[in-house]
């Protein structure tokens, strides 16, 4: 009697151990085996900064003809629809008169050149972006490098951001943009947008990610300087240091990252 109970317990113990290791073994192998977890990485060429910014040197611009290639480069690369009707227009980068771009600086006897000069305006990539605060779905957010970006997948088209933006940098798709994009210039690398979402300049986030400067900078023939505002050694800081610059509606405290040399 005593003996068989002992044997039974031994066998039960050994089998329990066997069962235990049986369950454990595949896991042990799986975690130390060749199969790795899938992962993510950045392109090794990606341009990075603490805070991206731009200086637009208006001395290098004479007329709308100088701005056209810059604006077209952006429009083409981002599949921006061409809608003539002002109310339905989509704008990422466009031209504006001095008195509208800088309403508080409209002096009475304004310099002739400045009065007639077309100014290039775009999203200011504000430090304290009011649109980010206004967005109820976090579709608009600010990256660590200062870029104020839109996640079109989350935009519900409420347009609070448009009301919040003091620069008119945002456009709403009242119409299906598909119908207004020229087939010859369609860029299959970048998704278009759809009726019912807001859109704006993305500082070419998709280009920075693969090591290219923004399209407008490339097309500007030196009129736009792009770089890291926080890097005291950068070209943009050198330019800011040696020239007097202004920013749009600075008194509002949004902290624009676009500077203008007048």
């Amino acid at each position: 009697m005593e003996n068989s109970k002992r044997i039974f317990l031994k066998i039960a113990g050994v089998s329990a151990l066997g069962l235990g290791t049986g369950i454990l073994t595949p896991n042990v192998f799986a975690s130390s085996g060749q199969k790795k977890e899938a992962g993510f990485k950045k392109d090794s060429n990606a341009l990075t900064a603490k805070r991206w910014g731009m200086v637009i040197d208006t001395r290098k611009i004479e007329s709308s003809d100088d701005l056209e290639p810059i604006i077209n480069a952006c429009n083409k690369i981002h599949n921006i629809p061409e809608i003539k009707n002002h109310k339905h227009e989509i704008k990422w980068i466009w031209e504006e008169e001095f008195k509208h771009a800088f309403p508080s600086k409209g002096n009475k006897y304004l310099n002739e050149r400045i009065k007639d000069l077309p100014f290039l305006v775009l999203c200011n990539q504000c430090e304290n972006a009011p649109c980010v605060k206004a967005c109820p779905t976090k579709a608009t957010f600010q990256r660590d490098d200062g870029i104020v970006l839109m996640d079109f997948h989350r935009c519900i088209g409420c347009r609070f951001c448009m009301a919040a933006c003091p620069y008119g940098s945002r456009s709403f798709n009242f119409k299906d943009p598909k119908e207004h994009i020229k087939p010859e210039t369609y860029n299959p690398e970048f998704p278009r947008r759809t009726k019912g979402v807001v859109e704006k300049c993305n500082f070419c986030a998709e280009r920075l990610a693969v090591g290219k400067k923004p399209a407008c900078v490339e097309a500007s023939d030196g009129a736009i300087i792009f770089g890291d505002l926080e890097d005291s050694e950068s070209e943009i800081r050198e330019v800011l240091n040696s020239n007097y610059t202004i920013r749009r509606k600075q008194a509002l405290g949004t902290g624009p990252s676009i500077f203008y040399i007048i």
Partner: protein, 133 residues
């Protein structure tokens, strides 16, 4: 008590209507569609992940991809084999599966799923397109 036949007839009609979804689908339902792979996909042999994983999880994978790209500025995916892919719906998935109609759509039609992605993401990135699709 003479209404017995009427009640039975009523019950029969009720059950026929009640069971409509069952018998309707009995004749309607089709076997899962045969999917065709493009030459490019055949040459690659493998999808981004295993076939089982893709069949079951491609929607979650795409969701992770877009979050990584748009919100976390990370554009390269390294799969379990260590192979790298640019995370792009139109330019990666549809690069291999350029026969969207015979691949994605065929299965989605069968499963009654209508992804709205193609409102913005081009579905024929390789063709000289008119941007309208």
């Amino acid at each position: 008590m003479n209404d017995k036949s009427k009640i039975i007839a009523g019950l029969v009609i009720f059950f026929i209507i009640f069971a409509f979804p069952i018998w309707y689908n009995m004749f309607k339902s089709k076997p899962a569609p045969e999917l065709t792979l493009t030459e490019k996909a055949k040459a690659a042999k493998e999808c981004v992940r295993s076939k089982e994983y893709m069949t079951k999880n491609h929607m979650q994978l795409l969701d992770v991809w877009r979050d990584k790209v748009v919100r976390h500025d990370t554009r390269v995916y390294v799969n379990t084999e260590g192979k790298e892919f640019k995370m792009s719906l139109s330019n990666t998935c549809l690069d291999c599966h350029s026969n969207k109609a015979e691949f994605c759509d065929k299965c989605h039609d069968y499963a009654s799923v209508q992804p709205y992605c193609w409102d913005c993401h081009i579905d024929n990135p390789k063709e000289k397109n008119d941007g309208k699709q």
